[in-house]
């Protein structure tokens, strides 16, 4: 197999955006290939549901394709598509729970104590004790038990590795609110998973 030149393997994102804006569909497709896995995972983490995650993925990239001429390139394409996908995912949740308003402004106090109900140790290597599909189901159920505001913060900070400040900016939250939600989200997820993974 002939190895492709490095320049082809890792083409500059800005260059791809410029080419896509000029009408080169292959360049846009390369951007999609680069980020589709991350955007799908975002959809899974925020909606907690395969079908909704696929809708989020499609709607986000279709919207990005449509609005590419408006993309001002003052941020990375990845930041832009992530922002679109977060909005799509939250909209999806609003539609699903039309009787309950879903916003980033959950009515959680920022400094209250958290009751930790589950102190158990986990079995070693829980990921090796379940088939991948089982583990996916367990993680999906646990993340689905969080409120949208919490799971979105958890996803952006812990999975995507955005800074607290970047997460706050993306979600129009204060830095303090992001920190408080991350704290609670981590503990609640841990508690949910402990029900399955705790030792005997």
């Amino acid at each position: 197999m002939t190895e492709q030149p490095q320049a082809t393997l890792s083409r500059d994102e800005g260059q791809l955006v410029s080419e896509a804006k000029a009408g080169n569909y292959a360049a846009f497709e390369e951007l999609v290939n680069r980020y589709e896995k991350k955007i799908y995972r975002l959809g899974m983490n925020i909606t907690g549901n395969r079908e909704d995650a696929e809708d989020v993925l499609q709607d986000a990239f279709l919207k990005a394709f449509e609005h590419l001429p408006d993309f001002r390139e003052d941020s990375r394409f990845y930041t832009w598509i992530t922002r679109i996908a977060v909005n799509e995912a939250l909209m999806k949740l609003r539609k699903r729970r039309s009787s309950r308003e879903v916003t980033m402004e959950d009515s959680e106090d920022e400094n209250g104590d958290v009751q930790v109900r589950e102190f158990a140790d986990w079995k070693p290597n829980p990921e090796q004790q379940f088939a991948q599909s089982e583990l996916e189901q367990i993680l999906q159920t646990a993340v689905g038990s969080l409120s949208p505001g919490f799971r979105t913060v958890f996803y952006l900070r812990d999975v995507e590795g955005l800074s607290t400040e970047e997460t706050a900016e993306m979600l129009n939250l204060s830095v303090g609110a992001v920190k408080a939600r991350l704290f609670r989200a981590r503990l609640r997820l841990r508690e949910e998973l402990s029900k399955t993974f705790k030792r005997g």
């Binding site: 983490n45 499609q58 449509e66 986990w122 997820l189």
Partner: protein, 78 residues
């Protein structure tokens, strides 16, 4: 340091945000408190599980449907 305070600081500890003094106090607490040590380990493990690229991997058919939808949009004209 009591357990309530330790639990509150575990999050900042995971993010490397604690100053040296508080970090040492928490680490000392974690060496003798099995409860808080279990909470710390399992919280760290929780994050790792969700970061694992194998979980929530993109199914081939979802990839195909996305690219088909984009091509249809391209053919219709944006």
């Amino acid at each position: 340091m009591n357990c309530n305070k330790a639990i509150k600081e575990i999050c900042r500890y995971l993010d490397g945000e604690l100053d040296e003094g508080l970090k040492t106090t928490l680490e000392t607490h974690l060496t003798y408190c099995n409860h808080c040590s279990a909470v710390y380990d399992s919280t760290r493990k929780t994050i790792q599980l969700y970061c694992d690229g194998k979980v929530f991997s993109l199914p081939d058919e979802v990839h195909t449907r996305l690219h088909d939808a984009l091509k249809r949009k391209l053919q219709r004209g944006v």
